[in-house]
Symmetry: C2
């Protein structure tokens, strides 16, 4: 939360904006007994927007939320989320479980089922234990509070080692959010969920526009090739409790800017907490012909197992970065590229510079690594965030279901 | 070499066809003192063909070989290869080193420099120690022999744990080959080299056509997205020593079929010896709309770190396979897919079947794993080969240069 303005906020997650409460409960979906059911509830109807996975295989809650938003996006009241089970590849029975989850929540907080959005994350291909979910909802509702964001953010964690929350104050309104997922290192899993709230008064149309713009340069900058999992979802709810209307173009620009800061903060937290990660890696591409070229090169590098294992091993093997740029699909020219590890220029004019190996090794030795590659072809740029690839990643994913 | 016919062959590598000799030498490019320089020499001029990396960053020997084949492909006499240094990202100086390597070989065996092709593999971004290379060539030439294929195949190894050779007898001619590389698990590295020889009498035009067809269903079926490294090269030399002319369509079909068997055998050996691999994995897609869809789905699965780590851990986490198919970019339909681990049908009609978890676990417990996914959309199919992703992969690549 380095770049957010926390003045006047009583909380730094989804309950930072006025009129939202949240809670977490442990209902036994996680074998460990940890929190595994989260509620986010608004005191009044919300305008809302959602961005969903582009995977052809979509989990039941994704299909359900898309249906609800298509018909009822201006009067959402709550989000119910569970971890421990993705409810994906579960067919009609899974869809029925999601409806039951929304209905149970609606009854407990006093609204209609089509005012409740549902999120699930965890193992693919297992049925949800709906009795446990019902118990979790019953347990969570009495705990709903304007300070419940901490519990809610923990209840959506799977292999995450810490909760991810963020908030920004733009008086008179605020934006708050939570997210879960181990980010870019495995963007294809049932991994990434985020719920963002605001007390600004804004239409669903403008929310949708702002969310797509913000996600494009934040969550989608820790993903690969635009691919997403069976469950990836970002939801944005606006209850208008601040009374501040977002109507003019200037308002929209300011709101989108604030939302982008919250999304970027959450996205970077996801990359930093990538499964088994020991290093946070920022990859900046400059001198590209256009932004999409810059993103493509940055993602090729960010997704290169050879680059990621070298960083883990503390080996400043810059040739792997140049190689990844070469196969990115972008028409790069080796003789025009220049590469920096931290402040150390290691490659220029088609050949290694006369850098000291000790300097390049030192440049990647810390927990935060900065790589910059100038393509020498234009003036566009883009930044992507990722982490290294460690032994622990293999350990975690070799036995995920056990 | 399960599917090749070895009758009448005195050797099972590049010297299986008549009129070829080979040798390996240790000239100090590898710190371990292992063989690191290989020669393959024909008694007479060869027709030839090459397939090269599509990486925009191409190593000096790739640029050089393309130039030689463009002007002189009907009179090639030798291939000289080194391991320990990729001679990539080395600019004009690297190109000059490659020329020197060809010239030294030409002088030693008595031909022109433009009759010699060059291969390099190893670390990117380091200059070749040309004095060592000269010494290696001088040392190898007196050792050239019709039984030198074993040494040559060892001299091109980097992280390979064993040499890869293959041969096929189609009297009166034969085809023999060697390859190096740890295959699909890191297709973007300076990894894959292969030299294939034949004593059939065939034009460079027909060789080129046969090689592209064979590589398309063999080496390119252990790669990802068609991406290749800075050095990946497959060379095919035909010296005509058998006197058997390949001219008719039927001859070409038979030759291409035999060549495809050798290439497929070598490609599977690469996948089986993937860095850190503990399992060989065959992924067959059936019921696709067309072959390119089948390949795309198979490669998405073969390249999924989550699928590969689960196989390593012995966890039959089939949801990850379905998820990878979903993000492959192919318009798959979850309700039409059916998935098998070995003979165990784990998923059909959009939901898990009632399989016994112990059976699916047993199905992936061995060293060879077979995964079949039927898309239920058509009648096209494709098979891709890969390996699992283990702790050793991370160890090997975290410290590759040290």
């Amino acid at each position: 939360m380095s770049n957010v303005d926390l003045q006047n906020l009583h909380s730094i997650g989804v309950t930072a904006p006025r009129g939202f409460s949240a809670a977490g409960a442990a209902c036994g979906l996680k074998k460990t007994g940890a929190l595994d059911l989260a509620l986010v509830v608004s005191d009044s109807d919300c305008a809302s927007a959602g961005v969903f996975t582009t995977n052809r295989v979509q989990a039941a809650p994704v299909l359900y939320d898309r249906e609800v938003l298509a018909t009822n996006r201006a009067s959402i009241r709550a989000v119910v989320a569970n971890s421990g089970c993705a409810n994906a590849c579960t067919g009609d029975a899974g869809m029925s479980d999601t409806r039951t989850m929304a209905e149970a929540t609606a009854r407990a907080i006093g609204c209609r089922a089509d005012q409740v959005l549902v999120l699930s994350t965890g193992v693919i291909g297992q049925r949800l234990d709906i009795a446990k979910v019902r118990a979790g909802i019953a347990q969570a509702v009495p705990c709903l509070s304007p300070h419940g964001d901490a519990d809610a953010s923990r209840a959506i964690m799977t292999t995450d080692t810490r909760p991810k929350v963020s908030a920004i104050s733009r008086p008179p309104y605020a934006i708050g959010g939570m997210a879960k997922g181990s980010g870019m290192i495995h963007p294809h899993m049932a991994t990434m969920l985020s719920v963002i709230t605001t007390d600004a008064d804004i239409s669903s149309e403008l929310l949708d526009q702002a969310l797509r713009a913000a996600v494009g340069v934040s969550f989608n900058r820790i993903s690969v090739d635009g691919d997403m999992s069976t469950n990836d979802t970002v939801l944005l709810l606006a209850n208008g409790a601040s009374g501040h209307e977002i109507r003019t173009t200037q308002h929209v620009v300011q709101f989108t800017d604030a939302l982008t800061q919250v999304c970027t903060d959450l996205a970077k937290q996801l990359a930093r907490d990538g499964e088994g990660a020991t290093k946070f890696v920022e990859i900046s591409i400059t001198g590209a012909r256009d932004e999409s070229d810059a993103v493509r090169v940055a993602k090729a590098i960010a997704n290169s197992p050879l680059t990621k294992t070298a960083l883990y091993g503390g080996d400043a093997n810059w040739g792997r970065v140049i190689c990844a740029a070469g196969y990115s699909g972008v028409a790069v020219e080796p003789s025009k590229m220049a590469l920096w590890f931290g402040a150390v220029n290691v490659f220029a004019n088609g050949t290694p510079t006369n850098f000291d190996e000790a300097d390049s090794t030192r440049a990647i030795a810390g927990k935060d690594v900065f790589i910059r590659l100038d393509l020498g072809l234009g003036s566009a740029s883009a930044t992507v965030w990722t982490c290294d690839l460690s032994h622990d990643y293999v350990t975690i994913n070799g036995k995920y279901r056990t």
